[in-house]
């Protein structure tokens, strides 16, 4: 059937068709300018420029038998000014030209046929630059016989005033709004449709959503999206504050400075990082490190301490003030770090080093600190607080089973505030803390809904505790708190499941009839702790914190599902003795895990069979803001907007190259 009224509109505006694979993700044309068209900058934000002239040998974009023209150059014009050569504009000497080649597949058919497209490249990088004057900049690359790639860059206006002294930026990794609805249902109670208590996040005076898509793809990964939140620049997948160039190498890529780095450079401010993941993971890494490959864990740990290394011109970095999380595996001696223990190295640089919650709590608040509590990720809230026997299996930094002395997100975050606040006060500056509820994402990937929602509730409990603690230490009025996610997972609750009935049935189809929808969903069966006081609407307080259910295995659980699934079995019950592994690999790819949810029914997946887990999704994710500047965070935003809003609240924009002394 013909789309009748559309034939007239046959001329299409954009030549960019989606392809399964891209030549170079951040380069729509053969003449590549990074940062690309449409980039916005904070005034005085440090960045690198890279230009490439590419020539594919074959395929749909073949050029000149694969030979790029030797002549290629970049011009730039400030607002109202003339285009001048980039070297003149910034007062640089012309760098050496890089020459190399790479290959890629144009689509799945080409991959199946093992028919790659080779591409030859000429490239130059200009490093450690800043634009100081707010306004619009026109940028033009000339390449391959006079073709041009044009870019418009905008330097945002300077802020009128400094609204906040401190910023705490929480990231609920993978936390879509649907998960907050579900977490609220488990941890709080309604009477006749009215919640008697709510999430702390529900009270945020600044509220909106942000779009998480990447530079080159509408589905992001966590490196890319966290970089957008922290630098104000969308990246390509796996990129940490560095645009992925075509070299395939991890460290030459053009870098952009984060708001955390700017805060340190301009104010000498205190910077701390907390995560429940292994601490070299993408979100914590995006706070201050730079690489196009988030998997460069050894370098990331080193960058936390000493900044950008190698021959890349960048300014000095004196180390984060604290780093709390999991992932001791990346601190152990190995070939990547000259067989030196990073624990020893950090201790040698004056950091307190700890491995347990007990040691964390004993830290001197005046000293910098490194605390790593587990070999991999920190244990989930559910395992630390409910199914605690599972901690017998958790691995200590030293490699032993039985990591019982682990902190939760709240413990780490409150201690981080104490250290940052104490040190900032002594140095007459402020602090910035990034605290990540990292395991929401990890548990959503493996379809372990109870563990994921436990992490969501832990984040909410942590925000509530931070709010109270900031008030106690007199910093509430000066501290902007932002809570958001880096992306979502397609997830929702659609009813209740009578698990007793499900388990009593013998066929997959009969088991599915345990699901109650609409009126048969009923009220939440996840009971709240005793001590409830609905009359004064005080928060329900349980043994583990505020706003958690006491039952994770009621007869009537939440019936729930995901938009993107591998083959798996579903029983709508909490996994009391293990974290889920929904699918395992066989010769045809990932398939139902015979050990997982044996009492459940089978669901065939809709993802490629190379995927054994769920994946990230498109949905705009929520943004919550409290404190000075919260009013900046409202409505529908784009992920980079958050960096600009934080910069505005902290007044980070500068029309000169400001460098403040930092006192260790």
């Amino acid at each position: 059937m013909v789309a009748s009224s559309l034939l007239l509109a046959a001329l299409l505006a954009s030549p960019a068709f989606a392809q399964t694979f891209r030549r170079t993700a951040a380069c729509p044309s053969l003449g590549c300018v990074l940062p690309p068209d449409q980039t916005d900058f904070i005034a005085g934000q440090t960045f690198d420029i890279r230009i490439e002239a590419q020539a594919p040998v074959n395929g749909s974009e073949a050029y000149n038998n694969g030979t790029p023209d030797e002549e290629f150059h970049l011009k730039i014009a400030g607002e109202g000014g003339q285009l001048v050569d980039v070297t003149e504009f910034f007062g640089l000497t012309e760098p050496e030209v890089e020459r190399y080649n790479f290959t890629y597949y144009e689509d799945l058919f080409a991959e199946d046929a093992h028919a790659p497209t080779p591409v030859n490249v000429l490239a130059k990088s200009y490093r450690n630059l800043q634009l100081h004057n707010p306004g619009t900049y026109e940028v033009e690359l000339t390449y391959n016989g006079g073709q041009t790639t044009k870019a418009t860059w905008v330097v945002e206006p300077l802020a009128d005033c400094k609204k906040a002294k401190n910023v705490i930026f929480f990231v609920g990794d993978g936390m879509a709004g649907s998960m907050l609805s579900a977490a609220r249902l488990l941890g709080h109670k309604t009477i006749n449709g009215k919640y008697q208590t709510k999430l702390k996040l529900d009270e945020a005076p600044g509220y909106g959503v942000q779009m998480t898509h990447s530079l080159d793809s509408f589905i992001t990964d966590s490196a890319n999206s966290a970089s957008a939140l922290f630098s104000g620049k969308k990246m390509t997948v796996n990129g940490l504050n560095a645009y992925t160039d075509s070299t395939g190498k991890a460290f030459g890529d053009p870098k952009v400075e984060t708001i955390f780095e700017m805060f340190r450079r301009i104010e000498g401010g205190q910077v701390g990082i907390v995560s429940k993941a292994y601490i070299a993971d993408a979100t914590p890494a995006a706070v201050v490190t730079h690489t196009s490959q988030r998997s460069q864990y050894t370098s990331i740990i080193e960058q936390y301490l000493t900044g950008v290394s190698g021959n890349f011109s960048w300014y000095p970095w004196e180390g984060v003030d604290l780093l709390f999380g999991g992932g001791a595996e990346n601190f152990l001696p190995g070939p990547g770090n000259n067989n030196v223990s990073q624990f020893d190295r950090w201790a040698g640089e004056g950091y307190q080093v700890g491995y347990t919650k007990t040691e964390l709590e004993a830290f001197d608040n005046a000293q910098r600190a490194l605390a790593i509590f587990t070999r991999g990720n920190i244990s989930t809230w559910l395992d630390q607080n409910v199914y605690t026997d599972l901690l017998d299996l958790a691995i200590t930094p030293q490699g032993e089973r039985g990591a019982h002395d682990q902190p939760g997100l709240k413990d780490m975050t409150l201690k981080a505030i104490d250290i940052l606040h104490t040190r900032a006060k002594e140095r007459d500056t402020g602090f910035m803390l990034m605290s990540e509820a990292a395991l929401i994402d990890k548990e959503m990937h493996v379809l372990d809904i109870d563990r994921a929602l436990g992490e969501v509730l832990e984040l909410d409990d942590t925000v509530r505790a931070v709010f109270d603690h900031l008030e106690e230490i007199g910093e509430l009025e000066d501290t902007l708190i932002v809570v958001t996610a880096d992306h979502g997972h397609g997830f929702d609750v659609f009813g209740s499941a009578d698990t007793k009935y499900l388990q009593a049935q013998n066929s997959d189809r009969a088991k599915r009839n345990a699901v109650g929808i609409y009126q048969n969903s009923g009220l939440s069966a996840y009971q709240v702790p005793e001590g409830v006081n609905p009359t004064n609407h005080s928060i329900f307080t349980g043994p583990q914190g505020e706003g958690f259910p006491v039952t994770w295995d009621p007869r009537y659980t939440i019936a729930h599902g995901w938009a993107a699934i591998p083959d798996h079995r579903e029983d709508y019950s909490v996994n009391t003795d293990h974290e889920r592994v929904p699918a395992v690999k066989n010769t045809t790819g990932y398939f139902f895990n015979p050990e997982d949810n044996q009492r459940g029914f089978a669901m065939t997946g809709n993802l490629g069979v190379a995927e054994g887990q769920g994946v990230h999704s498109l949905v705009d994710v929520p943004v919550f803001a409290f404190g000075p500047g919260h009013e900046l965070f409202r409505g529908v935003m784009n992920s980079p907007d958050l960096a600009f809003k934080v910069a505005q609240a902290l007044n980070l924009g500068r029309n000169s190259n400001v460098t403040a002394p930092y006192k260790k």
Copy 2:
């Protein structure tokens, strides 16, 4: 494994466990008070009270061999006052006691065993009441040997001022935030991660979300949730501005007045209803009608015209000012309406009556109007604008195939504004319009993603056009525009699908490998119309309106999924020649439809096999507000809050029984 730290918390706070089936949905105890505990009222809002004393014969709540005590009575106290009998408080005479019984199943096991629980009931209703003084009211029912059910009601404070003269309330039925993310991806373009144009909704200065759960269930239907939005009272499933009592009858239930009814009663304001569904459907019906059974279509059409009928004390209703939608089937002569054509009846009452877009546009703006364009629902935007051959199958109000002269949501809404504005001006009052993008929900239920997203984009285009039109007619400054959903569906986009590759594969597992995730999602392949002007960021304008793609069948489509699914096949392609029917019934329940998506791969469902469609979900849904009072609509709200905020903007709260003359 034992949840170790939770044993201490064995005393649970709430006795209400979720059950698959409820005795009486709105009555947690055997002594039933409606409106229930926790109800909030607008000052002067009209409502009924009902009390019931129930006595189950057997089961977990059995009482006195199934004999409720004859003595049961209700007392009420105003803020700071003493409890007095409800008849004294309101100056009423005691109504007659109703005596009846009903049965229900306690759970799925009881249903499988055909073992119902009989319940005997005594009940009284007090009708057509108002509370005028803001403050807290304590309500106490004594029943069954001195047991009590207590309720707290709050009458909200009066507004300080009137902010808005007119209100346009858009409902995107079933529209979760994830669908806006997807619709934006199809209808708008990014360059390097920055959208060059966006949804009109993205610009809303008032932004938040609202919780859609019901009185008795965490998953709502559309009657219930629209009633919450329009009356400020959560209902039980299928209830339209009436609390479902235990009689099982449709019309005796205690009613609550909507903000549309209040606006008419207090100001004599103009009230219009527009929907793309059959016009007796739940969302339009919730504007002014009252029944516990949304399926009472014949009564609903009659109530639009003449208000509440029968012996129920309520005030007169002079008919809606306009009604535009589908559903001629409910206007035809039949036993429910004394074999009178409702078209004739409305014409006899002075309404202009039309059946086509041409007739709609020719309506006199000074006269009341009824326009019904199709036998059932109006055709989707996709069928009206892209796959227009499908209109050959659409059925006219007269029952003929080929309903080609149908309006879209924009046509109906703009004409409605012209009529309401003209008539309101002549009568020196304002107007309220409810306009529903109803088919988002219908298409989400049948997993027809392209049709659903077409409806989302049509809603956005309509809001944009309304904004411009209000400016033209000089009403923009006086008109509050609210856009929200009544509930969501668990849905998300998680990548792109190479449909060419999918169709070339021969097995289900190989077809799934057509999905590209993360970087392989790429950019949207849904092309935008020519005439794009990215430099001045003007909206892309195509032949059908603003912000629609010109391609609905690119090679690379959105890979997407739902949290709740029946058995179905997925091919990630637009259905060009039919609306989807994912599953069909066989002897074991709903099963894969062999005619649907034959090129796709099979996915087994996770819903009970009695379900052939997707179902509603828990996710909080977005709220957008423009115009005077928009600042009231921010952050995390509960669905009833919206009615209170509209009432506040319109200053509908009154401390006396105000009745203004209404001029037809």
